[in-house]
């Protein structure tokens, strides 16, 4: 184990995480959640065309490799005249990806809210939309935190694929150092360590949020 290399490599790797991995993950996750919510609502809308489209979208996103999704947006869309810069491309690809996975989570969470809550909303005069917004979604949010945080933790590691479309992030930095030092295994393990620390931070944040949202349920 070459400790000197380990220590000099640490900051570049962490920096790659801070300027690449983290902002990319956060931006994509935020946008992805919005997509996911819309897709989930489309699926439970009862409108056949809408739910068909949503179902197809989810199937394609989950059924094909993320790498290819990135390539299609970055390398193939230009052949249709659509040239998108690396960062926007990455955010689009990862958002769409999160959208597909999280849609199912959100759909399940919405369906897990007891039917009586819809009826209670209706009986105080709320429309479907108002009931959804004020009664159902706040309760669905609580149920979906654990699976969504899984999606987020997966995303953090998946963003390493962004390096394939010219975005610099944590893993790319590790690859650079590894290529020059020829210490592939050690440097990759170091990168894994950094990912792990990031994910521990995320898990802590998750527990915090869960606690907050759990304040209104019995234990």
């Amino acid at each position: 184990m070459d400790w000197e290399l380990f220590w000099v490599s640490l900051w570049p790797i962490v920096r790659g995480g801070l300027v690449g991995t983290i902002p990319l993950s956060i931006a994509s996750f935020a946008i992805g959640l919005v997509i996911a919510l819309l897709v989930a609502l489309a699926r439970i809308s009862g409108i056949r065309v809408l739910s068909g489209i949503a179902r197809f979208y989810v199937s394609v996103i989950r059924g094909t490799p993320l790498l290819v999704q990135l390539f299609v947006i970055f390398y193939w869309l230009p052949s249709l005249g659509l040239l998108i810069d690396p960062w926007p491309s990455a955010v689009i690809a990862f958002s769409l990806n999160v959208g597909g996975y999280a849609a199912e989570v959100i759909r399940a969470a919405i369906l897990s809210v007891p039917k009586g809550q819809w009826e209670a909303g209706h009986t105080i005069g709320m429309s479907r939309t108002t009931t959804l917004r004020r009664i159902i979604l706040p309760q669905a949010a609580r149920v979906s935190v654990p699976p969504l945080s899984n999606t987020f933790i997966s995303l953090v590691k998946d963003t390493s694929l962004a390096s394939l479309i010219l975005v610099t992030e944590l893993f790319r930095e590790a690859q650079k150092i590894a290529a020059f030092s020829q210490e592939f295994v050690m440097i990759y393990m170091e990168a894994a360590l950094v990912y792990w620390v990031f994910s521990l931070v995320l898990s802590t944040a998750q527990s915090r949020i869960e606690k907050r949202l759990d304040r209104y349920v019995a234990h």
Binding site: T123, M126, Y216
Partner: protein, 266 residues
């Protein structure tokens, strides 16, 4: 809930009934749940529905709150201010208008678990009826005070006993100032000793002049509070009458059997 403020909207000229239900029918698939339900209810009166499980009591109630869509029949509220013919398509606006006139108290309370007691009560007045928050909260607190729950204003539903939750459920309905209060077995998920506190509140509402439709198996309550009792079985009204008469001298064999089973379980 104090007589001055509440059933005010309900005070239509004495003659026309507040609620008029004609020929209500509903099937789930092949299963005819309601056949031809007719009844009227005057302002300030209490109607009690009894009948065996599956007889259609809940379906009647839900139809009056627009939660269920009957296949046929008409419902008219306040002399036709809201009039629905279920034979044709019913618009969302009409359904909302119906809900505007009535409010339901559920068997399992169905309080909003993520809102405090006070928020549960004010959600409708503020969000739906666009009343001023201060106003709505003041009225909500007055109602909570009346049912002995003022000190629970900031508690979440899970922190309350069943009886307390159901009292909040009633206040939530009353705070909407509907013309019609609907109760679907409001005490049947309560511990026996907690039943009393909820029935007491309901009795007070009846005495204050609220118009109520109540599904219940509490015969003592029905005898004391109801103006009329309908006995439903198999989706039809088998017998109807004042509680004193119906409970003591039922004319139909089925009514007799049912009452016997309730009063002498084994």
């Amino acid at each position: 809930m104090s007589p001055t403020e509440s059933p005010s909207r309900a005070s239509t000229p004495g003659s026309t009934p507040l609620l008029e239900v004609r020929g209500l029918a509903k099937s789930f698939g092949d299963h005819e749940v309601l056949r031809s339900i007719d009844f009227t209810l005057d302002t300030g009166k209490v109607l009690v529905l009894i009948g065996p499980s599956g007889s259609g009591k809940t379906t009647v109630l839900r139809s009056l709150n627009g939660l269920e869509q009957p296949d046929a029949g008409t419902v008219s509220v306040a002399g036709g201010e809201v009039a629905i013919d279920f034979a044709g398509p019913v618009s969302a606006a009409t359904r909302l208008a119906l809900r505007d006139r009535s409010a339901m108290v559920f068997q399992h309370y169905n309080l909003f678990p993520h809102l405090t007691v006070l928020q549960n009560v004010t959600e409708g007045p503020i969000v739906v009826q666009k009343r001023a928050r201060a106003d709505a909260e003041a009225e909500a607190m007055a109602l909570l005070e009346r049912v002995g729950l003022a000190d629970k204003r900031d508690a979440f539903p899970f922190e309350l006993s069943g009886g307390q939750q159901q009292r909040v459920g009633i206040v939530r309905a009353v705070a909407l100032r509907p013309q019609l209060l609907l109760f679907d077995e409001p005490t049947s998920s309560l511990d026996p000793e907690l039943v009393g506190e909820v029935l007491t509140v309901m009795k007070e509402l009846a005495e204050e002049g609220w118009t109520m439709v109540v599904v219940t198996h509490e015969l003592v309550f029905a005898r004391e509070v109801a103006d009329e009792v309908l006995f439903l079985d198999g989706g039809v009204i088998v017998e109807r009458g004042a509680p004193e008469r119906l409970f003591t001298a039922p004319t139909q064999e089925r009514t007799k059997q049912f009452l016997n089973r309730l009063l002498f379980p084994f």
